[in-house]
Symmetry: C2
Subunit: 289 residues, 2 copies
């Protein structure tokens, strides 16, 4: 049986640290404040933003969800981001994705100032990931950061390990490939045009699925030695409407050494990263002011 890499005990531990840091900031008159811009009422987005708000409040931070109408004009949308960005009370800000079609062309990551970009989408923050300069002020993309936190927590040293990432998005695959390369892993970044995907994943020590296809990775993609570490970034629904990942968990769990569950795995780590970025942003902004 594989070791199940559950987020819950990790999140509990780190949340306690964040609560302390938050209390310290509050003692100095700074209440970490996250503002979320939510356009429309896309049900999963409503749920995600609620979960994020609950988590931030749980560590003692302030969180407000600013709701905009689905039909909001581009002008008003951009002005709203600018106005929140300029609010000195706000330390972190992000726009919940996906956006309605009419706004989907806007690269919101570049509209949020890099020092408040708790999603880690801004050029300056991605540059830090690329260059390996992820020091005190870097706000690292939440999902990749959460995966690294999880691996480190379980003392999984990636040095010299081969990692196959499936999915080349700017939010997960690309920044994660850079973070893992900086940590001395050898990363193969796979995608929809990759040929011989199974050969690559079978040869990998760690397989990270960020494809967006329900139960895509089954045991045929894994080495026969049952030593693969499987990280599942996907959030999908299967044919029966049940939440599932990009990995066919039931098929894979007896054919790997470690596996992250869905739900309760990478998704929860992502919210933890967001909170870590908020506290980091609030601390940095407090120091600079």
């Amino acid at each position: 049986m594989a070791t199940v890499l559950k987020a819950s005990p990790i999140v509990k531990q780190y949340a306690a640290d964040l609560k302390q840091e938050c209390a310290k900031l509050k003692a100095n008159g700074i209440t970490p404040f996250l503002k979320v811009i939510l356009v429309g009422q896309h049900p999963p987005s409503v749920t995600y933003t609620k979960n994020k708000k609950k988590f931030m409040e749980g560590i003692g931070a302030k969180c407000e969800i600013l709701k905009l109408d689905e039909q909001v004009s581009e002008k008003v949308f951009i002005e709203t981001i600018a106005s929140v960005a300029n609010d000195k009370e706000v330390h972190g800000l992000f726009v919940q994705l996906p956006l309605p079609k009419a706004l989907a062309h806007i690269d919101v990551g570049q509209l949020v100032p890099s020092e408040k970009d708790v999603d880690g989408f801004h050029a300056n923050n991605l540059f830090k990931v690329l260059s390996g300069d992820c020091g005190e002020k870097a706000l690292v993309s939440c999902t990749p950061k959460g995966i690294i936190t999880m691996l480190k927590h379980h003392k999984i040293d990636v040095t010299g390990k081969s990692v196959a990432i499936i999915g080349r998005s700017l939010i997960v695959g690309k920044p994660l490939s850079m973070l893992l390369t900086n940590l001395n892993a050898t990363v193969t970044l796979c995608h929809s045009r990759t040929t011989q995907l199974k050969e690559i994943t079978k040869g990998a020590d760690i397989v990270i699925a960020a494809i967006g296809k329900a139960k895509f990775i089954n045991k045929d993609y894994l080495s026969d030695d049952k030593k693969t570490i499987v990280i599942d970034v996907g959030i999908n629904y299967d044919a029966s409407g049940k939440l599932c990942g990009d990995v066919d968990y039931d098929d894979v769990e007896n054919h790997c050494s470690h596996i992250t569950p869905v739900p309760g795995g990478v998704g929860r780590m992502t919210i933890l990263s967001l909170a870590q970025n908020l506290i980091k942003a609030a601390s940095s902004l407090a120091k600079d002011s």
Copy 2:
């Protein structure tokens, strides 16, 4: 026998295009102007900057080398960059690397405004490489850009091909891995901590060596089918003082399908990229003014 991917005919063709574009800009009162900051008298750097100046002048652009003393203070060095950056006559600017030890900690790429950053080192330009948004205004790192130009010129489609890059620098390996990923190649980014390097390169359709070790890659690193495309980014000197690459050319040339020579390969493509970036920067700045 492998096809030798010589830069010279490609450079000749593209230089003619650049000459025309330069003439057009000059007809509109804009003389593309590159300024190079050279600290000290490191002999290879003196040669490189001279070669770059000669090439820029060959296409009709203006190029000046601003020489600073090796002992220049950090303050004066940074002020010099700022002053050149603010000069409205200057369209492109870069600092010849390596810098003397006392200045080596400075990330000069971030001191040059992104719109004049013809080296492609600025966060905004690397972000464009990462996101795949390498449109009209993007200034792409010169060596990776030169390699892509060479592959495209030879109609080598990288879609679905497996590429092993050896070397994870911010100047070559990392941006090149992103450019090739954006072009649908499946890239494995290898480095000094990679285990089973030979296994990876033997399985690759394209091997790109950017390690900085003379003649490191020999035929043992290549597939037996002699179909590998070998790109050599290295500029080293062998035991007898002769210029050579990271690839043992004599050992490899009969065991691959294509190979770039050193000298006369990637190095010359890099200077072409610099000139392309200069003309692009001058055109963009002219449009914006």
